[in-house]
Symmetry: C2
Subunit: 421 residues, 2 copies
């Protein structure tokens, strides 16, 4: 593909096919979508050697390109990881089908009966980086919500994604659903991404899955709505009325359980009264766990800590590093989070209900927690089933984006020859 | 104001004030918002002579500018219309406050309790044309949902809007809410509209109120999300299983009750079997009511009809004109509406449940009706209270946009020192 015009022609053709498939899908019953997902899971199992061979081609390409070990690891598929993909497909299949659910219904004095029912959004575009499993995860969730989907995977994982995509298409075929319901952009060219971002009227929403570079690009350039979060700069605030043991447990978990996920804590705010009374055990725990503690002011005097720079606050480390400072009560914590947070997830540790209410009411993050680890910010942990990502925008979808948030609604109004005065 | 840069500086300053006000508003209880609305209604009543004098200035300006009689009528305020504005403010005050409503809540096996609660969106921008009452209506609804609002009224109605706006601010002041919660752009310059459309990060959503020219401009140019409908090309389909008397009543009402509203029917599709069996009474009724019937094919042979041109289908007349044609059953009606509709409101007349289901499931308009007049497409008629407009997009808000749809949500998660394995 030589230029943007060619990419636009490709995406337009795919978009039109997707739109046509979406019309069929919107009317497909829950059973056929279920069958397609179970069929796809079965195909993954059947084709393990084929998928691993395709993945080996990508790994060779990646090694030749000089990808880092971490990136090669993300790219790699093996029997275990394929089992994970298969299980994921079955799990989405078993979730409740959101399409057609009656959100609310009521009667009017005019005799009209009004129902608000869930419907698919239409066509979803997913742009992702090296992990080939997103091909199955995102395809499955979009399908569950009755949407057609256009997948644009990372150029490094093209063969792996194509092999997985073939299984998804086979699932659709067996369930007599349109094969164009799940399409994979068949090229490595960057221009396809630009074409997707500009495909107003063909793609209804774009979901980027990947690093800050990709998400930032999508948020800046997209002419269609985007569900995403740029960063997860999650804060934990230890209030003066915190239970010290709970605080130690939660802070350690929030930072160290997994440091590379968007729900990992990046900043620890401690009320100075709490610190005066209970000391530095929380920070000692972090240091003992090998965390680099970048401390401001008084806390920088603690042995083992590093002095924080100004730009350590509001920074997403995604690593075994945390920024920390003392604050004067919940209001200063709120002000700090308003200034430096990314509206993803924040947690307060307190036994004081009024203080917790103030924290909950004054902040506008997608997820606010009390006495719980920020690592719970995840669709599975919320009981929503699989998620396609976490959104921090205020429009339409927020927090974990599962099948339900990939739907919209319409009103169905029934009368009996009813006219308006 | 000389150029866009000055307009941008103005809107940036207003946007920052709005953002600060929004933070305060989000925490204001329902009572203070109620008090502000009742206070504003009281001020309107108190200041009738003052508002009418301001309106007289606008009327003079409008006459000098050569505005049409219809436009002058839209601009005009009198005691009755001010009573309507006052009543509207009181009605919004009496509606349930959506902020803080728990949309759903559930427990997790981990011990976490999760609540999804309604929160304000933040800052709403409203761009409207000559009707000065929008100043009160839009300001009131945005406030009810806890949002700050930036109002940009038509240049012809500047003095009237300023006089009404002063009453809204007085209501805020009396309720000890930030006066910047409801701001009016203080200039007639067009550049302010462009600046609002580009105010990402300061304005969360733009709502245009006015004709197709304004709405089209906003939809094309806005860099922030838009709630709007470009056109209401509403269809009525008379199925072969329609009750002929109900069909006559509903079609006549859908077209003629008020022809200038977005819920007025613009196209009538009649199943040919119905037509063969029941004849042309529906069309004769329309002709007798003075409607210009632009008929296609067989129907054009009826005396009194005009032959339809191709572009009469998919056209919003907003006048005493209707396009009509015969179709072969519900599937042809669905195909026609998919091609020519604007996803606003469509109604099917049928006594056949399976046919109605097919119509409801196959179309993706914001509102679908059965045996009811499209003229019911209105927030008041839906029992939602006042509305700021009707949206046909699929993101976030659809159908009548009332206070509830001017909110978003967040998750509040409570544990007891709960950590993730």
């Amino acid at each position: 593909m030589k230029d943007l015009a060619e990419a636009e022609a490709l995406i337009t053709a795919m978009g039109q096919d997707a739109r046509a498939a979406a019309v069929e899908l919107a009317q497909a019953g829950a059973e056929r979508k279920y069958a397609a997902l179970i069929g796809a899971a079965y195909e993954i199992r059947k084709r393990v050697p084929e998928i691993i061979a395709a993945n080996e081609k990508d790994m060779e390409f990646g090694r030749a390109k000089g990808l880092s070990d971490a990136m090669l690891d993300r790219l790699r598929l093996d029997d275990d990881r394929l089992r994970g993909i298969e299980d994921g497909l079955r799990a989405v299949a078993e979730q409740a089908d959101p399409v057609g659910q009656v959100i609310s219904e009521w009667d009017r004095p005019t005799g009209l009966h009004i129902k608000r029912v869930r419907t698919p959004i239409g066509v979803v575009g997913v742009i992702y980086e090296s992990r080939p499993n997103v091909t199955a995860d995102a395809g499955a969730l979009a399908l569950k919500a009755g949407n057609a989907v256009i997948l644009r995977g990372g150029s490094e994982s093209l063969h792996s994604s194509q092999a997985i995509h073939a299984c998804m298409v086979e699932g659709l075929r067996q369930a007599k659903l349109p094969e164009k319901a799940i399409q994979l952009v068949p090229t490595r060219d960057r221009e396809a991404v630009s074409a997707m971002l500009g495909a107003q009227g063909l793609i209804d929403v774009i979901i980027p899955r990947g690093g800050k570079g990709l998400v930032g690009l999508v948020q800046r350039e997209a002419r269609v709505p985007v569900f995403a979060h740029l960063e997860g700069i999650c804060h934990v605030y230890v209030d003066r009325d915190a239970d010290p043991e709970k605080a130690r447990r939660v802070v350690l978990n929030a930072k160290t359980r997994r440091t590379g996920i968007c729900g990992a804590a990046e900043c620890l705010l401690i009320d100075w009264q709490f610190y005066t009374k209970h000391g530095a055990a929380i920070i000692e725990d972090l240091l003992a766990a090998g965390v680099e503690v970048r401390a401001d002011g008084e806390l920088a005097k603690l042995p083992g800590t590093v002095k924080a720079e100004a730009d350590d606050f509001g920074r997403e480390f995604l690593d075994s590093i945390i920024a920390t400072k003392l604050v004067d009560g919940v209001d200063e914590a709120i002000a700090h989070i308003r200034r430096y947070g990314s509206q993803h997830t924040e947690s307060i540790l307190t036994q004081n209900d009024a203080t917790a209410d103030r924290f909950f009411n004054s902040l506008d993050s997608a997820i606010l927690m009390r006495n719980a680890s920020t690592q719970f910010a995840d669709g599975g942990e919320f009981g929503m089933g699989a998620e396609i990502g976490i959104a921090t925008g205020k429009m339409h979808a927020r927090g974990p984006v599962g099948a339900e948030q990939l739907t919209t609604f319409k009103y169905l109004v029934t009368g009996d020859g009813t006219i308006r005065d």
